[in-house]
């Protein structure tokens, strides 16, 4: 370490500790969100490529390949729209859900356990629940942007005909939070990494992806499997996405229920995460 006698006098800190504390109390969640943005900026290029690449790959494969085949054989099964239009809201929502799965598992484990990154800010004026909030804000935006890109690409493929279709960007992001925040609460309680994350991917996310009315309407499933759809945020997001995208006909109360269900699970996961952060960091 070098020594500079003058260092303390050259740059005087521009605010008192009381002012720091007051600012942190008010904006602390955003300060931590800012941290997560700086981390994401390190990966900006790969995130951007992934955000464009994934939709293109899916839409070409499903839209151009699979859809042509299905439309030739089963036209009319999908509420009067072509298969790609039927499928697109599900793809947008499931992409959001899948990035949420990663973002609400690994960084949380990293923060508490692997590299203990939450304990740095914990020693600052930030409160534990603000660290939780900041992560949620960061990931929320990190999901909203690629979801918007996905939607634009869907629109370019001509698979989002309705005027309100763009609202599905937000319902898809809500879906990501609806699944991600309870997941975050659970991961916040883990003290050991014993392969649970692979289990989540394989035995929760994959079945949700397959059985949430994604590729075919939920009511074509046997009744004893349909419950997966009802509890699946992805089904709710897919259904409301279809309503918004092409005016898929369903009762209004059901549309309200989709949003309410996703909102309620997201809020529950959020509050629970705050509580667990507070408790775990006060030990």
């Amino acid at each position: 370490m070098t020594d500079r006698k003058s260092s303390r006098t050259v740059l005087a800190v521009p605010q008192t500790p009381e002012e720091s504390a007051a600012k942190a109390r008010r904006y602390g969640s955003w300060y931590f969100a800012e941290h997560t943005f700086r981390v994401m900026r390190m990966y900006a290029v790969s995130v951007a490529m992934y955000s464009v690449g994934t939709p293109l790959a899916y839409l070409f494969a499903m839209g151009v390949g699979l859809a042509a085949l299905i439309d030739a054989n089963g036209a009319g099964r999908f509420g009067g729209v072509d298969y790609l239009t039927f499928l697109a809201p599900a793809l947008v929502a499931s992409a959001a859900l899948m990035s949420a799965t990663g973002e609400f598992m690994f960084p949380i484990m990293d923060g508490f356990k692997w590299r203990r990154t939450f304990f740095g800010p914990h020693a600052s004026p930030l409160r534990p629940e603000q660290i939780a909030n900041g992560h949620i804000i960061g990931v929320g935006i990190r999901i909203l942007l690629p979801t918007a890109i996905y939607f634009v690409i869907v629109a370019l493929f001509g698979a989002a005909p309705g005027v309100w279709a763009w609202l599905s960007i937000f319902t898809a992001t809500l879906c990501a939070l609806s699944f991600g925040l309870p997941l975050m609460a659970w991961v916040s309680t883990l003290t050991r990494d014993a392969g649970q994350f692979a289990v989540v991917q394989r035995f929760i996310v994959t079945p949700l992806f397959l059985f949430s009315g994604t590729f075919f309407p939920l009511d074509t499933l046997p009744f004893f499997l349909q419950w997966i759809g009802w509890i699946s945020p992805l089904w709710h997001a897919t259904e409301i996405g279809r309503v918004l995208s092409y005016g898929y006909a369903e009762p209004v109360w059901l549309s309200v229920l989709h949003v309410a269900y996703m909102g309620a699970t997201a809020v529950a996961g959020w509050l629970l995460s705050q509580r667990i952060f507070r408790r775990r960091m006060g030990k």
Binding site: D3, L11, S20, A24, T117
Partner: protein, 317 residues
């Protein structure tokens, strides 16, 4: 002493702990300790692994809840006023917790942002701190790519970003090379001169002797002794120490033959220590008894000896 109740007045003690206790389940990590630290003092916690030093530091830092007792930092209870208390502090935790995905300079800026400090202050401040930590060349590197000692230096630099009036240093120089340690000591000394209160834990006796005005020796969560390094040495040890090595098998058996020499002997696995006011005289007596140690060394007593006396254990792991 209950100055913390007089809100608005400047407390005489920046840190005041009484009957501070921390339990983890049935296990008592910090057991009913009390101490006060006046502003500008450099106060040390010295103790073996598991003594409860870090636990105490974490309670002072407002990141760990105590089980009982009272604690006040700048007149505030850290459990009631966490953000205010932490805004006053700079913290170097025992375990580095930098963000390894971020670049070195960004770690400093991000940390300053937690205090709501503006970028116009933080950008030049980060450069200044990098220079202080001799990491200017590494400003754009990812933390992942730094050596252990460099990470330590970055953590120390980070703790200074808000120019804290109280600095908590939990084994700050562990992992630093001797040169970096000496430069850090010098820097801490200057901070102290400028009025910063330093609270530090260490395993290094020379560090404690150099930096601490006053220290407590803790063991098993309790305070065993308290005082300035010099007064502790005076109270618990002799002026000089004669260190003898007879080889690992003989060290224990020779103890009986050494009885009566000096004030006290202490047998360690690798050497025998004879505490005496006059080391030379003690050495002569050893020779007179026909004992031929492989090596012998006379030195002044240090905190190490105080520690050994108080706990029956050597501090060096």
């Amino acid at each position: 002493m209950p100055l913390d109740s007089l809100s608005g007045s400047t407390p005489e003690y920046v840190i005041s702990a009484s009957n501070l206790t921390k339990k983890y389940g049935d296990f008592t990590a910090v057991d009913d300790i009390s101490f006060d630290v006046p502003a500008g003092e450099s106060f040390g916690l010295l103790g073996p692994n598991g003594a409860g030093k870090s636990t105490t530091m974490r309670m002072i830092g407002g990141v760990s809840q105590r089980t009982s007792g009272t604690l006040s930092i700048m007149g505030l209870d850290p459990e009631q006023h966490g953000p205010q208390v932490r805004a006053h502090l700079g913290v170097v935790p025992q375990q580095d917790n930098l963000d390894e995905e971020l670049r070195v300079r960004d770690n400093l800026i991000v940390y300053g942002r937690y205090f709501g400090l503006p970028l116009s202050y933080l950008r030049p401040k980060a450069d200044e701190l990098l220079e202080f930590a001799q990491l200017t060349d590494k400003a754009g590197a990812k933390v992942d790519d730094l050596s252990g000692g460099m990470k330590r230096r970055l953590t120390i630099a980070r703790s200074l970003v808000n120019e804290p009036r109280i600095l908590l240093l939990d084994e700050p120089t562990t992992g630093l090379d001797p040169q970096a340690r000496h430069i850090l000591w010098d820097r801490l000394f200057r901070l102290k001169e400028a009025g910063t209160t330093l609270i530090l834990t260490t395993h290094y006796m020379d560090e404690a002797e150099q930096l601490c005005d006053r220290l407590v020796v803790v063991d098993k969560g309790r305070i065993m002794a308290e005082g300035s390094p010099a007064s502790l040495i005076r109270r618990y040890s002799t002026r000089e120490v004669l260190e003898l090595r007879f080889g690992s098998e003989r060290n224990t058996t020779v103890a009986a033959d050494l009885q009566g020499i000096g004030e006290r002997t202490e047998t360690l696995p690798d050497r025998v220590l004879i505490y005496a006011a006059d080391g030379e005289a003690a050495m002569e007596q050893v020779s007179l008894r026909g004992l031929r140690p492989i090596t012998s060394l006379i030195r002044r007593s240090s905190l190490e000896d105080v520690f050994l006396r108080l706990t029956g254990r050597s501090l060096i792991d």
